[in-house]
Amino acid sequence: MTLEKVPLGVPASVKDPVEASVTSVKGPPKGLTKDLANDSANDSANDSANDSAQGFAKEDAPEREVRGGAGATALEPPRYLGGRRRGPVASTAVRVLVPLLLLAAWWYGTASGAISSEILAGPGAVVGALGELVATGQLGDYLLASAQRAGLGVLVGGGLGLLLGVVAGLSALGEELVDPTMQMKRAVPFLALVPLFISWFGVEETFKVVLIAVAAASPMYAYTYLGVRGVDRKIVEAARGFGLTGTRLAFGVIIPTALPNILMALRICLSVSLTGLIAAEQIGATEGIGYLVTLAQQYYRTDYMVLCIVIYAVLGLLIDLAIRGVERVAMPWRGQVAAR
């Protein structure tokens, strides 16, 4: 096996043909992983390094058998084919184990009197509070109002972050123009902008949506920028070789390759939007799950304070589930190539 036969994707730094062939046969080559990981410190680069490394191992395996001589009669499965998956039942059981333990500790702590109800309301009181909110129809109204604000905010802010991230990632001029400002903006806590935004946008919906949008723009920008920068130039070259240019290149190759990062960004944007909701709905709101936090504080209801935390936790789970679903639909190849 010579250097010419080494597939696309092995950096030129692997100069020694012998070492190259040995590493490509034996599984994930150390030099390769390290080089790519150093190139850009992000998940997708690491993943693609692992992916391609496995690819070589699989491709090269039969070749080794042939060269192995007459003694070999059957195909030998590669030593590493990715982690073995647990069954869905076992996996779910492990998944809910820690939350259940936390719940049990909470229950026991409050029921035994070890934790005073002034400090932490018990699960019974929280379920009672939830029942009240459902009975008055407030829960639905609050969730809907907040979902609209957060949705609009993430759409605008995330959209802008995505756009700027792609621009900065794709073109040097774009990076020079956009990146310093975005890095400055990223360091400004959006909560510091609340008083200014009130005087600019009032206290109505515009203010709330703008606040969430500003909060969501930064993570989306940072992750998209990294993701686009991390796209393997050989993939881009290959796509160009097939005649892809312009928007087709951007939408067909670059953005799908950066998709893991973008979806991670979306996760963070949605979580940040919950923080934004608390800040925004403290001011001039009559409904919303952030407003519920304010109400619980103003009326000294510890049961509602804990209920708010539970609601946020459940929303966090739902956001994660939704993004996992999107990942499965939008990146069907990932299940086959990811390291785990």
Partner: protein
């Protein structure tokens, strides 16, 4: 060169597309807002912007029954009910931005705003409740087993108060009356809801609980050292409005005050109607002993009255305490603060 130019072009196309979409979205929102604004200001009349009245009190009943809407329509004005605010600071921000133009509260918290801005004025005061049978509305609370039994015991202790508000005013007043220099007591600035947590977990030695926090603290077993009513408390409840509303539409504000007076008088006779106005359940609803307490409080509530030049003394006294202890940087001239809304008889 060729590749990078292509890449730049791709980026530009993406940029242009997204920008168009965003502009369209923003444009849509703007149009909607303008339309709503035009509808709100129909007839060119004044708009009273009041924050969310919550679930109890005269304004909550006014909102529920549409009383203000009806009465204001007679003078060509409308009312716009806003949202609620987590703190007084946030409320003041809303007043500054014009999202609220009428607000009620004690004198003390608005002084900080009045020192720097001339855009709101006080047009009505509510005299303090003096009937000894009326439930207390605030107090310096300590834990039941606390060694603190009088204001003098506060020396070297930490006391939670809301900054520049009624809690801090009452503490400073109590210290002054007891002859204790204010710097011998550590004031910990916490909003009422934060104060509640800090007090419950023993992070502060005492807490001047005001408004809703006070009955809550007493219900949880706190011991009261001194009440605001035991002091020479000059911090009256007041109604204030933005200056342009008062000068341009005084008749509208008079209608608002009239409605408030009528409803407060009704509440004295029929206090039950003024609790749990919108909801019997949920975080804003009160029940049990708290409800009984609220009903008693409402029964004794005083009716607000027009502010007069003589009321300047209240403002001067409260501001004097704040200025003496460095809470306010400068004095407040009562003539800049009080608006004479009373119609010439």
């Amino acid at each position: 060169m060729w590749t990078s130019r292509r890449r730049t072009r791709a980026a530009l196309v993406v940029a242009a597309l997204s920008l168009t979409a965003l502009t369209a979205a923003c444009g849509g929102a703007d149009t909607a807002k303008t339309a709503a604004g035009a509808a709100g200001g129909k007839g060119g009349g004044a708009v009273l912007k009041i924050k969310d009245p919550g679930n109890s009190g005269p304004l909550a009943v006014a909102k529920k029954e549409g009383i203000l809407e009806k009465r204001l329509a007679e003078v060509g004005a409308t009312v716009q009910w806003g949202g609620s605010y987590a703190s007084f600071t946030a409320t003041v921000d809303a007043v500054r931005s014009g999202s609220i133009n009428v607000l009620e509260g004690a004198i003390s918290p608005v002084l900080g705003y009045l020192v720097s801005g001339k855009d709101i004025k006080i047009f009505a005061f509510t005299d303090p409740v003096t009937d000894p049978a009326a439930p207390q509305t605030d107090g310096l609370v300590v834990k039941p087993d606390s060694p603190i039994t009088s204001v003098k015991d506060l020396v070297g202790k930490q006391v939670a108060v809301n900054k520049g508000g009624r809690g801090e005013y009452l503490l400073l007043l109590a210290l002054q009356e007891a002859g204790i220099p204010a710097d011998q007591v550590k004031r910990v600035y916490l909003n009422p809801d934060q104060g509640a947590s800090a007090f419950a977990t023993g992070k502060v030695d005492a807490w001047w609980a005001i408004v809703r926090a006070y009955p809550e603290a007493v219900a949880k077993g706190a011991r009261v050292v001194v009440h605001g009513r035991d002091l020479k408390d000059q911090d009256l409840n007041m109604q204030a409005a933005r200056t342009e509303l008062l000068t341009e539409h005084p008749e509208v504000v008079r209608v608002y005050l009239k409605v408030l007076q009528e409803l407060t008088a009704e509440a004295q006779k029929n206090p039950e109607k003024f609790q749990n106005v919108f909801l019997d359940q949920g975080p804003t609803a009160v029940s049990g002993p708290r409800l009984t307490d609220e009903i008693a409080r409402t029964r004794y509530a005083k009716v607000p009255r027009f502010a007069t030049a003589a009321d300047g003394a209240f403002v001067t006294d409260v501001a004097g305490i704040f200025q003496k202890y460095g809470v306010l940087p400068t004095a407040v001239n009562p003539n800049d603060v009080i608006f004479d809304l009373k119609p010439a008889a």
